[in-house]
Symmetry: C2
Subunit: 359 residues, 2 copies
């Protein structure tokens, strides 16, 4: 394996749309959602085997999750875990990773991967990732993976492909916001639009240059600390300066502005697991369409529900159609799957009424 | 207070229709259902003040609940708690109590009261109970309390009143099974039918004579041990012989057969709390018709539900109309209130699948 190839796994998210199954103290990436014995993060780590050397995997997380990561991925050394002292969205986080990796290896090529996605066909994923690394090896290119859509999904952003370059790589024409259903149908039919996966490939040098051009206020925070990266003083510098970054996503800060943005169109069975619906769609169902995962559940006259209950608990339900039933320790959620976009609102209501107690 | 007056509180039931809130280890009579600080049993005990002397209150229970009773009613001495070594329905249980009390006081008059009913107007209840004691003082009479119905309830048995005797006392014409809804409406309209409350008054001598006539196979078990009642050997005798009794209700064994059965028609706001619906009906509701008792519950777009959750747990629900949500430790029940008659079936299903683990 090419020792210049790195992967940054981002695993600092809170996953509040999966409350209460995903809570601040143990967000969804740390949960074994599918009962496979591996959490989403562990699955994200596992599928990098054969793409980058294990010692080139960097985890970017919130400082509260350091010990969870060490517990779940004991293969990692402490130096592979970067802990943000504050939440500042993806651009500052990627900027730090790029400066950190460049200080270690000025030739570094980086993949950026979320920790909470589901990928079905790992072989296809591996080939696509290796192709992307090969593509950026010889180019000053910012590559994003665009997933071939399989349904008129309104929960994702889309990428419109432009001029083809080689193989599955094209220039990006536009990034779009989440479409309404009519527009999503047009996107699907056109064949020109792909789901924005949040997986990126670039050299450390290319992304730092792009940040400097497109989001200098972010890049400056790290540029000013250049002498500390890769040294014992890096953490101290970050702790003192990271909070000064504006909170901004890498899509908004760079991808929608830079001239050298490419998309690799891919197809490997992908889901961002952003919602209960997506978890439902990707989980095995019984003959009544219920997803009960590892739970003990007796469902009478009930169809198309997803039941997620922690521990050795029994659920007996009747007359439920299309509900989420999620029960974890001190919180129970019973909400129609159709309403899952409102869960964030409900969680805010919980916060305003009870503070952080149940979050 | 008349020292010949006794009350037997029956509190050996399992309350499986309230599963999982009521479990075998702590059935509903031991639960503070209304958040008043007193369990149903404690409320049943409290309302006897002024009717019978405290030392004349006898609790009849299953042997597994002895310590729960001592904990909830520390005023009682151990000799006031009779523990059945087996479940044999109400007739054997009442027969034992009658023989026990008669051995202590041959002149004893007995009231028999369930431990899990709700009575709203305790003053009216007290007057009705005292009237019943006065009625049986001079008569060989078996008196049952008949509650004036307020709705066409299909969950109760009814008593049809016959020839009036004095005050609110009449002979009983018939006992009926639970009617269907059409018949219940006819009953309600007629004014002749009253709910069978399961509260009885008789002298120990009268009920023993009636048992001897109507259910000799039950009475014989106790008659043969006459010399042991009221002595140190009573418990030993019961433990050796109680199981030989057939399992039969006092209604079926005696009340439907004896010639000297009377009904006192009463009206004091009564509910047998046999079902979630009855608990719902008798609990305070918020403006959306939800009963959430002591629980922390955020209910969105949800109406006419009853939420019963143990401990400091938060429930967030949306889109629920007319459901029971009951959560206790290792079990969660979500069932429409309309289906509550099926809960027993569901609990049987739980038993057949998981044994006694969740019961």
């Amino acid at each position: 394996m090419n020792s210049n190839r790195y992967c940054v796994i981002m695993c600092g998210g809170v996953g509040s749309r999966f409350w209460p199954f995903s809570k601040a103290a143990r967000p969804k990436q740390f949960i074994d959602f599918f009962g496979t014995g591996r959490s989403l993060l562990q699955m994200a780590f596992d599928r990098l085997q054969g793409i980058v050397p294990t010692e080139n995997i960097i985890l970017l997380t919130n400082e509260s999750y350091g010990s969870l990561i060490k517990e779940q991925l004991p293969e990692l050394s402490s130096s592979q875990i970067l802990m943000e002292p504050a939440r500042r969205n993806t651009a500052p986080c990627i900027a730090w990773a790029a400066h950190h990796i460049q200080a270690i290896n000025p030739e570094a090529l980086m993949m950026v991967a979320p920790s909470d996605h589901l990928i079905i066909n790992e072989e296809k994923f591996k080939r696509s990732a290796i192709n992307a690394f090969n593509f950026i090896e010889t180019r000053d290119a910012l590559v994003t993976m665009g997933i071939k859509p399989t349904r008129p999904e309104t929960g994702y952003g889309y990428i419109q492909v432009g001029e083809p370059v080689e193989g599955n790589f094209s220039k990006v024409k536009t990034f779009t916001e989440k479409p309404d259903e009519d527009l999503a149908r047009v996107f699907l039919k056109s064949g020109e639009f792909f789901w924005n996966s949040g997986m990126f490939f670039w050299s450390a040098g290319s992304i730092i240059k792009a940040l400097d051009n497109c989001a200098p206020e972010v890049n400056a925070v790290f540029e000013q600390g250049r002498e500390y990266f890769g040294t014992d003083q890096e953490v101290e510098y970050i702790n003192a300066n990271f909070q000064a970054c504006p909170s901004i996503s890498i899509d908004f800060a760079v991808m929608e502005k830079a001239p050298n943005v490419y998309v690799e169109t891919v197809e490997f069975g992908w889901n961002d697991l952003g919602t209960w619906r997506s978890l439902y769609d990707h989980s095995p169902k019984n003959s009544e369409g219920n997803v009960t995962q590892q739970c003990k559940a007796l469902m009478f006259n009930s169809h198309n529900n997803i039941v997620a209950v922690k521990g050795d608990k029994l659920v007996v339900a009747s007359g439920l159609e299309g509900y989420i039933v999620a029960d974890v320790d001190d919180a129970l959620l019973i909400v129609p799957l159709d309403e899952e976009q409102k869960i964030k609102t409900y969680v805010n209501e919980v916060k305003s009424k009870f503070g952080d107690k149940f979050l």
